[in-house]
Amino acid sequence: MAVNTRTASTDVAVREQEREKQLHRNRNTVAPHVDIFEDAEGVTVIADLPGVPKERLDIRVEGNQLFIEGEASIQVAAGFKLHHAEVLESVYRRTFTLSREIDSTGIDANLKDGVLTLRLPKAEQAKPRRIAIRSA
């Protein structure tokens, strides 16, 4: 960055956003527990995300990577003092690498009672198929 140029206010806003994102990424996160099943039609991922409401859940697919990130938000009354905590981190984050047979446009996500159920369908051509044998 050149020292003698003035940065526009929009650049500062963008940099602040980037810095916020960086700080957010560096916060202590915990990987949520998952169950993963595969069947003929696709893969099911079930993740425990207690305390995460729908608006704080972020699921993204970038290339062949699936990112799951959720921030738990626990409503407490004013003047609340924590005495004993077995759960300290509030950000759940986990990344999965998807194999090419997963159709990332068809991913279905459902969040209920702090449990995220992801259904990752396999692309049609990747499903196990019988090959018909012709007799000559």
Partner: protein, 148 residues
């Protein structure tokens, strides 16, 4: 773990760790989990406000009819059963990971003496069970007037 601190090998490392957790509970007036099944689930945070004791149990995916919270003689028990998700409707299921604990669970803790068991509120939101136990009126912090 340094065994000289904990004496001879009567305890394994895991037992020593468990004792330390129980120690934390004892210091707050919360009893150790002698009666606990599936130790460690659900994890619990404990706090307080001026008016209440707050217990937050993290148990996602539990059906309301399989969840129970009872107070008996100052002992708060959170118990129930988490069912595993059935995969029976699918063909050729292969399990890659099973990190989520399922089955019955029970956590027991002793509430401090100034907890009023008749004024308890419990909510299950986003997989977290919030239990608020009001403190007895007479035990709330009060300032004392000093007369001349």
């Amino acid at each position: 773990m340094n065994t000289s601190l904990y004496g001879t090998n009567f305890h394994s490392d895991l037992d020593t760790f468990r004792d330390q957790i129980d120690e934390i509970f004892r210091n707050f007036g919360v009893a150790s989990n002698i009666r606990a099944d599936v130790r460690g689930f659900p994890p619990i945070n404990v706090g307080s406000t001026d008016d209440t004791f707050e217990i937050i149990a993290f148990l996602p995916g539990v059906e309301p009819n399989r969840l129970q919270a009872t107070i008996d003689n100052g002992l708060l028990t959170i118990s129930g059963e988490r069912m595993s998700v059935s995969q029976q409707d699918k063909n050729d299921v292969h399990v890659y990971a099973r990190e989520r604990k399922t089955g019955p669970f029970r956590r027991v803790m002793e509430l401090p003496e100034d907890a009023d068991p008749d004024r308890v509120d419990a909510r299950y939101v986003d997989g977290c069970l919030h239990i608020s136990v009001h403190k007895r009126e007479s035990s709330k912090p009060r300032s004392i007037q000093v007369h001349q």
